[in-house]
Symmetry: C2
Subunit: 373 residues, 2 copies
């Protein structure tokens, strides 16, 4: 399956597929750089110091897999949309929204690292400390991260509205663009609730975890981007339904893979300390299934260790062994496999426009759910 990776249009440095004149990733990068340069000038009119904010946004948006822009853009192309800068602009807007979500999410979770770099609130704390400013550095970190995320939210809209898509195309895409943002934020709140008020019953825990996956990942990362692109291009209801099925299945597989990597992933590729999800106490489907099949002694150990911020490598190893012993990891791999099958079947039945869309969407499915990320 990895032989498909080069056609995702995501990877810089990989050999390009002959059908793509320029990689989408580079076009999104350029679009974001140019947009942020203009915004930086607008902020500098308020005061030169405000440019500190844009530096942090650049650090957030310069990395990332560009999955969401790719789904938007190829959803558009598959529905007959032309290869246009307007579609790339609309796709790039999703990266600004993602930056906002990550900046605020890291603040909420008190996560200090993002892709191996200090999270934005930590960057502002460091600035406060370097400059020997007055007051509490954590309070300044919070202020900086809140306002930086807010600007990303505002600029998401600005880039989308000024993308160059026609008023008619924007009008068709906007309901889904709006829905995406409301549902992601609702999903994030539900995720927070699931940490402070975890279900005692493993089945209820799995049920809520699947709901968080649906709204915070499957819809947000795959289904909604596809549907925004497709709606803008004027796709019919049949194609929208197929995209929806493909998107939800791909997104479910993507998040389940992410949950597995959050426990078993290699810090060198995830950019996060090993077992970070265990330390954060995330109530994932993987944890729900583990608890469902645990002996009372195993369950007691899971409840005792999960969410302990000081969990050391031995603790992580203990939890990993219980997860494997209960067979929960094998079960999640089966769920991932089944979701990938559903996604492939949906795509096989899709009536897509001529061009590389089918091949690229298949490649994106692989890239989003690959064991090595």
């Amino acid at each position: 399956m990895t032989s498909l990776a080069p056609v995702t249009g995501l990877d810089r440095g990989h050999p390009r597929h002959p059908l793509q004149a320029e990689s989408l990733r580079e076009r999104v990068d350029t679009t974001l750089q140019e947009f942020l340069l203009l915004r930086s000038a607008a902020l500098a009119e308020v005061a030169p110091e405000c440019v500190q904010i844009v530096d942090r946004i650049t650090s957030m948006t310069s990395a990332g897999k560009r999955l969401r822009p790719a789904f938007l853009y190829w959803g558009w192309r598959g529905a007959g949309g032309e290869n246009s800068q307007a579609a790339v602009n609309a796709a790039a807007a999703l990266e600004l929204f993602q930056a906002a979500a990550l900046i605020h999410d890291d603040l909420i979770d008190a996560s200090d690292l993002r892709r191996g770099m200090p999270a934005v609130h930590k960057q502002f704390e460091a600035l406060h400390s370097q400059q020997s400013w007055q007051g509490d550095e954590a309070a300044f970190g919070l202020a900086g991260a809140v306002l930086t995320g807010d600007l990303c939210l505002v600029w998401t809209e600005e880039l989308f509205s000024a993308s160059g898509l026609s008023a008619e195309q924007l009008g068709r895409a906007r309901p889904m663009f709006d829905r995406m943002r409301t549902e992601l934020l609702g999903g994030q709140y539900l995720d927070v609730l699931s940490q402070v008020a975890p279900q005692a019953d493993p089945l209820a825990l799995v049920d809520r975890a699947l709901r968080v996956i649906k709204f915070k990942s499957a819809k947000y990362s795959v289904e909604h981007p596809l549907l925004i692109g497709a709606s803008a291009a004027g796709a019919d209801d049949k194609l929208l339904a197929v995209y929806s099925e493909f998107g939800l299945a791909t997104g479910e597989a993507f998040q389940l893979r992410d949950d597995v990597l959050g426990v078993f992933g290699d810090p060198a590729t995830t950019g996060k300390p090993a077992g970070d999800d265990l330390r954060e106490g995330k109530r994932t489907v993987l944890i729900g299934r583990t608890l469902q099949h645990s002996t009372p002694a195993q369950a007691e150990t899971v409840h005792r260790l999960l969410g302990n911020p000081d969990l050391d490598q031995d603790g992580v190893q203990t939890l990993r062994e219980i997860i494997v012993a209960t067979g929960a990891d094998t079960e999640i791999e089966k769920m991932i496999g089944a979701a990938i099958d559903r996604a492939e079947a949906a795509l096989a039945g899709a009536d897509l426009a001529e061009g590389p869309a089918r091949e690229v969407l298949t490649g994106l499915l692989v890239a989003a759910t690959d064991r090595v990320q």
Copy 2:
């Protein structure tokens, strides 16, 4: 001057001006209620618990003077825009943006009260405590406030885009709508910087305070709303320039009045503890002028007491006495008077459309800068 108050269209319960069939305030209230009801249903699809967020937004948007919507709406009417629900919708969107700004601002400033009620992060803390949820209640308060403010930002755009203004009207208004949001957030960051890195030189302090006023208040609260409404209505450059002059002067007077009330205001009408701005250590123009005219002993006292979160009533009184002794309060009153004169002169020269706009804008100037608020 207070005889003009009933024509602002802001006051519920006041006798209505005969030219207005329905008060703008009531129309904005109804618009927000209906919009939030629909958004509440959308969030409930994620999970019923998410409706907790909308309850907090309702508590924020049900109060307030509706100044910004009034400036947008009457800027539109003065430029020849018709009495339409579309303009009211666009005006109401500003209240959602203001709610986002206040929710995040209270979190950043760790302000516990807003209009005499618990701030949104405190409301979420109380919910956490009532429900005896796990983890730290302050962390949950932060999460709730960040996500609630984010939803307000996203919904601002949603209500504005779906206002019913035509694509052409929206296209003309959007650059100013975008500028308003970027500059307000930049102004807020500058305000944060001015707390952590205050200028030692009183003149530089006044200079930065005036810059914060310009971007965080004058442009945001008055000039930009007026220009958004006027641009949507297709105003010519001449009227836009007059609105700009009127708006900046009115906004400056409005914020200077707010600064005076933050030190000398009656808690019963401001909804905040007496002298709250002193406890927060706000570097206002009032404080800058005080330091400029202080004796070394007075300046030492100001530096020692300003920004002390535990400042008691005696400390507030000491600072008030120094402000009065230096003549800074009289100087600010003169600045307010001069700004009101500039605003009145600008309006007198404005070529406005037939109708009540001139009278209402004059009333808004009075309402925004009145000594009793």
